[in-house]
Amino acid sequence: MEKNKTVVADIDRGMYDIKNEDRYSYKVSQGLTPEIVTKISQEKNEPEWMLDFRLHSLKVYEDVPLPDWGPSLEELDMNNIVTYVRPHTVMKGNWQEVPADIKNTFERLGIPQAEQESLAGVGAQYDSEVVYHSVKESLRKQGVIYTDMETAVKEYEPMVKEYFMKLVPPQDHKFVALHGAVWSGGSFVYVPEGVTVDIPLQSYFRLNSPGAGQFEHTLIIVEKNAKLHFIEGCSAPKYNVTNLHAGCVELYVKEGATLRYSTIENWSRNMLNLNTKRALVEKNGAIEWVSGSFGSKISMLYPMSILKGEGARADFNGITFAGQGQHLDTGAKVVHAAPYTSSNISTRSISKNGGIAVYRGAVKVTANAHHSKASVNCESLMLDDSSRSDTLPSMDILNDEVDIGHEARIGRISDEAVFYLMSRGISEQEAKAMIVRGFAEPIAKELPLEYAVEMNNLINLELEGTIG
């Protein structure tokens, strides 16, 4: 069979690239100084310790160099990034009260559809502050706290102080230090002991203002034997000015607890997505990551799981789709720091039209983590020869009572498979699309239905019309 070139056109991102008129009530001057950081803190009426923490982070930020690995970040100029934009609306508890233009954008992004009876609440972040928020009465009765970070700092101060950026300290890397200095918005979730939240909590946030960075902080504490599924999704309109996203997610999974953290990331193609996510898992606890990276210009995203307690478990399912002009450097890190811990990393990456997809991972097993098991499986699909796909895993094992396996595979859509499907009466185009969807299936099936549909639509849109 003759080898046909697979040409996959760029998605018409239409609805994702709709932007509102730049209307905000307050905007700090460009650039980053202690004065700006102090202003941000004052605007939020924060306690003293938070201001100190911000100023400390700013110092760290100035001292830490940019990473000497990964995609080039030379286009980043922090002096030109407006770090904080407060939307022109205050917190709303009711969808009806959200201003029309914001609502309109969210509607086009599909938020209200997702806001169904079965869903617990939506914390939608518009620019840097949460504009819409609701938690179901039943959850409140169970003692579940779901609020925005600003409110949490005030209302649940002792708890926030105990956990905030303890798992991801500002010293970790330059962008996390920046985050510590200018963080704004994000979600705070607390699930008390033994409580099972059986409907997923979701937060949808996005960037809007040109040149604005978004530094939302997500802090989730799932107490002993509790259970939670948290969904994070994001999409931003397209702008010409470089946009930076340096969020931070800290997840504390206590003894016997389970937390599933799902993300479909769909930033516009000018975004630098330098997000940091980390989970600390205690005895017999479990963290389950589901991660889809579709958007952004550059992504550096490697959720880390620290298995601190005996029998703790981590699962990571990720998909990355890199199209034209995209350099998506994603992966996962797992540290086995206790006996009988287990981890399972499974990733799929697709690259087309000059896109660069990189899997970067690390599995570390400490000397005391005997009887640990780790399995890593990476598969990459190249849709044409102008794209790139690299796999850069690493394993560091410090004891012998372990079972560690790693597998990776790279290739294109097999001609035989296409031929087979075509011999069954399916068109070449549909056959190829079918194979790509099948390739993504292991990740799609981990998502809640409406998100799986959204992801499948995204893949279909990416492939539509031009394959073959």
Binding site: K3, T6, D68, W69, G70, R360, A362, A367, H370, S380, M382, L383, D384, D385, S387, R388, S389, D390, T391, L392, P393, S394, M395, D396, I397, L398, N399, D400, E401, V402, D403, I404, G405, H406, E407, A408, R409, I410, G411, R412
Partner: protein, 366 residues
């Protein structure tokens, strides 16, 4: 030359905290390099020609561009400037050598530091096997720095076997490097058994259409041994085939770092590369690091890598013990069986025996 850093760097850097981007020599390279016991294979026999490497510098310089380089540029320069042994081996066109050419190096008190630089030039459709064996008579420590380059012209088949059985306190810095033309095949079989610190590199450039290259490696670390490997297969031309197969055992407090890269360059249509690495861990104090990279700029390729490490399979062990073997005997048997396919590639019986003997002796520590 003092101790040098930035050795065995991976082609694409990753997180610093992993400590795998590169390595450095902890020991110091002796100030005086001294080795006079030259192996005797010179001559100009039918099918091949062997001469001191210095006499062919010009010819080699002309071909250097085809190679990927060794442990580091500084190390390569050190070897070419400080070498005290080395041969230029030319295999004539269409010559098929049935007997392996074997070079024996033995370090002793009077010859404690060897720097050897070899170049194997296999002309069109020739076939040859070259074995280089490093050992030490009853003598502590020693240093070996070396480089072996292979240039295989169209249709040539070359197998280079390197067996390192230096003293447990020795230090080694060694590189093999191949440039392979159309339809040619180069295979390296690398056995690392001795030395306290061993930093080795193997790079294969599959420059010609349908060329193929293979790296087989076997290592055994015990006590405080540090083994650092950097293997790279560059698939440049259409139809290139590459294979890396590494097996090893870690005992005591030994440490191993394995970097294996399959690189598919744009244009290498129909290339296939595979890499597999398997490590048996026999002590709770070992450190085992693996970085199996796959870089791909071409869609019409098939790349695969697999790495695994862990203890000996309990069921296998149980089965053998139920047949009356002691635990240690059973472990030896399983490890020898795992190593057998690579040991079998060595064409010299005496060397095979020396390897088996060494492995058995060291497994006594289990």
């Amino acid at each position: 030359m003092e101790s040098i850093d930035k050795l065995n760097a991976i082609p694409v850097r990753t997180w610093k905290w992993l400590g795998v981007n590169e390595t450095r020599l902890a020991g110091r390279i002796p100030e005086k390099i001294k080795y006079d016991r030259q192996p005797l294979i010179e001559g100009n026999t039918a099918g091949y020609m062997v001469a001191p490497i210095a006499a062919h510098s010009d010819q080699i310089r002309f071909m250097t561009k085809k190679f990927a380089g060794g442990v580091s540029q500084a190390a390569d320069e050190f070897i070419s400037s400080q070498r005290n042994s080395g041969y230029f081996i030319e295999i004539s066109e269409d010559a098929k050598l049935t007997k392996p050419l074997t070079l024996y190096y033995e370090l002793d008190a009077k010859n404690p530091s060897l720097v050897d630089d070899h170049f194997i030039f296999a002309r069109e459709n020739s076939e040859a096997t070259v074995v280089i064996y490093y050992s030490a008579s009853d003598f502590p420590a020693g240093f070996h720095g070396g480089m072996t380059r292979v240039y295989a012209q169209k249709g040539a088949v070359v197998h280079v076997v390197k067996v390192q059985l230096l003293h447990d306190a020795a230090m080694q810095l060694d590189a093999v490097d191949a440039a392979i033309e159309e339809e040619a095949h180069v295979e390296f079989t690398l056995v690392e058994l001795g030395a306290a610190e061993s930093i080795t590199s193997a790079k294969v450039c599959l420059n010609g259409k349908n060329s193929s290259g293979q790296i087989n490696s076997l290592y055994f670390g015990n006590q405080q041994q540090k083994i650092d490997m950097n293997y790279e297969l560059k698939h440049v031309a259409p139809g290139a085939r590459g294979l890396i197969e590494s097996r090893g055992v870690l005992l005591g407090k030994s440490q191993k770092t394995f970097r294996g890269t399959l690189d598919f360059l744009k244009g290498a249509k129909g290339a296939k590369g595979r890499e597999s690495e398997f490590t048996v861990l026999l002590s709770p104090e070992v450190r085992n690091r693996s970085i199996p990279l796959m870089l791909c700029g071409e869609d019409d390729v098939e790349g695969q890598h697999a790495a695994s490490s862990g203890k000996i399979d309990e069921e296998q062990l149980f089965y053998l013990m139920s047949r009356g073997l002691s635990e240690v005997e059973a472990k030896k048997l399983i490890i020898e069986a795992a190593f057998a396919p690579i040991v079998a590639k060595i064409p010299v019986a005496a060397i095979k025996d020396a390897i088996s003997e060494n492995i058995r002796r060291r497994l006594a520590d289990v």
